[in-house]
C-alpha cells in the first residue's frame, strides 16, 4: 500500500467516525467539537488532492469562523439534559422510515451512476498556485464568481436586517 492510500484511509476513518459522533453525542458542545475535527480531516483530504488553497480556506471559513460562532452560541445557551426536547414516538418512527427511503434512493443512484474517474486530463498547469487559480476564477468563471459575491452580500444584509427587526419589535 502506498503512503497516500494509508493517509487517505486514516483520514477517511477520522472523517466518518467524527461525523457519526457529531450526531450521536448527547452533549451539544461535544458534537460541535467533533464537527470541528471532521472539518479538519476534510481539509486533510483537500491537501491530499493537491489543493492547498481550498484546504486553508476551508479551515479559515468553517473551523475558524462558523464553528467558533456555533460554539459561542451553544456555550452561552447552556443546554442541559433537562431542557432536551422529547419527540413523540410517531415522529421518531417517521424519521426512521424516511431515512431508510433516502438510503435506498442514494444506494440506487450510486449503483446506476457511471464513475468518470480516469477522464481527467493533465493539462500541465499548476493548480496549487493561487496565481493560476485567480486567473481562472476571474477570467473564465467571472460571472458566477460575481454572482456568488452578490449572493453573499444579500445574505449579509438580510442577516443584519433580521437582527435589527427583533430589536425594534421589543
Amino acid at each position: 500500500m502506498s503512503t497516500i492510500l494509508i493517509i487517505f484511509c486514516v483520514l477517511a476513518a477520522i472523517t466518518l467516525s467524527t461525523a457519526f459522533l457529531t450526531i450521536f453525542s448527547r452533549n451539544p458542545i461535544h458534537s460541535a467539537l467533533y464537527l470541528v475535527i471532521c472539518f479538519f480531516s476534510i481539509a486533510g483530504h483537500y491537501l491530499l488532492l493537491n489543493s492547498q488553497f481550498l484546504a486553508i480556506m476551508h479551515l479559515i471559513v468553517y473551523s475558524g469562523a462558523i464553528m467558533i460562532l456555533f460554539l459561542f452560541t451553544i456555550m452561552l445557551m447552556n443546554l442541559n439534559k433537562e431542557n432536551e426536547v422529547h419527540k413523540p414516538r410517531i415522529t421518531r418512527l417517521g424519521a426512521i422510515v424516511s431515512f431508510c427511503l433516502i438510503c435506498i434512493v442514494l444506494i440506487l443512484v450510486f449503483i446506476n451512476s457511471k464513475p468518470i474517474i480516469g477522464e481527467y486530463v493533465h493539462t500541465g498547469e499548476d493548480y496549487q498556485s493561487i496565481k493560476v487559480l485567480g486567473h481562472v476564477l476571474l477570467n473564465e468563471y467571472m460571472v458566477p464568481f460575481e454572482f456568488a459575491s452578490i449572493l453573499l452580500l444579500v445574505a449579509m444584509i438580510g442577516a443584519v436586517l433580521l437582527s435589527k427587526k427583533e430589536k425594534t419589535g421589543k
Binding site: 467539537l33 492547498q52 488553497f53 469562523a65 456555550m75 493561487i130
Partner: protein
C-alpha cells in the same frame, strides 16, 4: 524526495522551536525588567546575575506546584485547552523566513521550515484556530468567570481578525504574492513595506495586540471584573502553558510584523555585503538584523503594556468594528487607485 532535505528541514524546525521557546522564556524576564524600569524599580535580581536565571526558577516553580483540578465533567477538554493554545502558538513559525539562502557544502539552504504558496493565509488560518484553545479551556473549567473570560477573549479575537485580514489585503495588492519568502525578497535594501503601507501597518499592529490578548486589549483577564479570565481554574504547568503561549504568540507576531512590514532579514547595504564578504556572512548579519527587529517589537509590546490602561469592552468593540474595519477598507480603495494610476501611466507611456 532525497533524505538530505528531510534532515535539513528537521534541523531547521528543531532550531526554530528551541529559539521560540527561549525567546518566550526570556520575554517573561524582559517583561518584568521593563515594567520595573518604567516604574522606577529594580525588578527581579536574585536568581543568577541580574536575574538571568529567573525564568528557570519560575518554570521550576510552576512544575512543582500542586495540580488542582476543578470539579468538571469535561476533564479531557480541560487538558486539551492549554495544549491547543500552545501548539497553535508554535505552528505559525513554520512559514517565517528567518534568513536568505546559505551556501554550505555545495548546496543552497533556505532558512525556512516550509515555503508554501499560501503562507499568509496559513497564518490567518492558524490564528483563527487559536481561539479554540481559549474557548475550550474556559468552558471546560465549569466556572462562570472562566466562561465569560473565554467568550470575551474569543469575541475580541474574531472581531479583530476581520480588520487584520482586510489590512493584509492592501499589502497583498501591492506585493502580488502570499509567500512570505517572496515578500521579504521584494523588500531588499530599504524598500520596506511600512513606507508604502503605513496605514496597513498601523491597523495590523493594533490587531496583533488584540490577537495576542495584550494590554490595552487584555480584557479577557480583567482582574477587577473576571478574576483571572479564562485561566482562572488552571494551576501548575497548565496555567504555565497558557502564559507561555501568550509570550510565544508575542514573539511570532513580532516576527510576522518584521517580515511583512519591516523588511525581514533585509538591511541597507545587504547587496554590498554579499559582494564583499560573501553570501554566508551577509546572511548571518541578516539573521541578527531580523532578531533585532523582533526584539524591538517585543519591547514595544511591553512598553505599551505599562503605558496605556486597558480599554472598556464597548470601546474595544467600537474601535474594532467602527474604526479599524472602515479604515482598512479605505486603505484598500486607495491602494487600488494608486496601482491603477501607475498601470494606466505605464500603459500610456508617461
Amino acid at each position: 524526495m532525497d533524505s538530505t532535505i528531510i534532515i535539513e528541514k528537521s534541523i531547521i524546525i528543531l532550531v526554530v522551536f528551541a529559539i521560540t521557546m527561549l525567546m518566550a522564556m526570556y520575554s517573561t524576564l524582559a517583561e518584568r525588567k521593563v515594567a520595573a524600569w518604567l516604574q522606577d524599580r529594580i525588578g527581579p535580581n536574585r536568581a543568577g546575575k541580574g536575574g538571568i536565571l529567573q525564568p528557570l526558577a519560575d518554570g521550576l516553580k510552576l512544575f512543582s506546584k500542586e495540580e488542582f483540578e476543578p470539579n468538571t465533567p469535561n476533564r479531557f477538554l480541560f487538558f486539551v485547552g492549554p495544549a491547543i493554545a500552545m501548539s497553535t502558538a508554535l505552528m505559525t513559525s513554520a512559514v517565517i523566513p528567518w534568513g536568505d539562502k546559505f551556501h554550505l557544502f555545495g548546496r543552497d539552504i533556505i532558512l525556512q521550515a516550509t515555503d508554501i504558496d499560501i503562507a499568509l493565509l496559513y497564518i490567518i488560518g492558524i490564528l483563527s484556530i487559536g481561539v479554540y484553545g481559549i474557548m475550550i479551556g474556559g468552558w471546560a473549567s465549569n466556572n462562570k468567570f472562566s466562561l465569560m473570560g473565554a467568550v470575551r477573549a474569543a469575541s475580541q479575537m474574531i472581531s479583530y481578525e476581520v480588520a487584520m485580514g482586510l489590512s493584509l489585503i492592501a499589502l497583498l495588492m501591492m506585493t502580488g504574492t502570499l509567500s512570505l519568502r517572496e515578500i521579504s525578497l521584494q523588500q531588499s535594501e530599504m524598500n520596506w513595506n511600512v513606507f508604502y503601507q503605513p496605514l496597513s501597518f498601523l491597523i495590523f499592529l493594533i490587531c496583533a495586540f488584540a490577537e495576542t490578548n495584550r494590554t490595552p486589549f487584555d480584557l479577557a483577564e480583567c482582574e477587577t471584573e473576571l478574576i483571572g479570565g479564562y485561566h482562572t481554574e488552571y494551576s501548575s504547568m497548565k496555567m504555565g502553558f497558557y502564559l507561555f503561549a501568550e509570550y510565544a504568540n508575542m514573539f511570532i507576531s513580532s516576527a510576522i510584523l518584521a517580515v511583512l512590514f519591516f523588511g525581514g532579514y533585509n538591511y541597507p547595504g545587504m547587496s554590498w555585503a554579499v559582494e564583499n564578504w560573501g553570501v554566508n556572512i551577509a546572511n548571518i548579519i541578516g539573521i541578527a538584523v531580523l532578531f533585532a527587529k523582533i526584539c524591538g517589537f517585543i519591547f514595544f509590546y511591553m512598553w505599551v503594556r505599562w503605558t496605556i490602561p486597558r480599554f472598556r469592552y464597548d470601546q474595544l468593540m467600537h474601535l474594532g468594528w467602527r474604526i479599524l474595519i472602515p479604515l482598512s477598507i479605505i486603505n484598500i480603495v486607495i491602494t487600488g487607485i494608486v496601482i491603477l494610476r501607475a498601470e494606466i501611466a505605464s500603459y500610456l507611456g508617461f
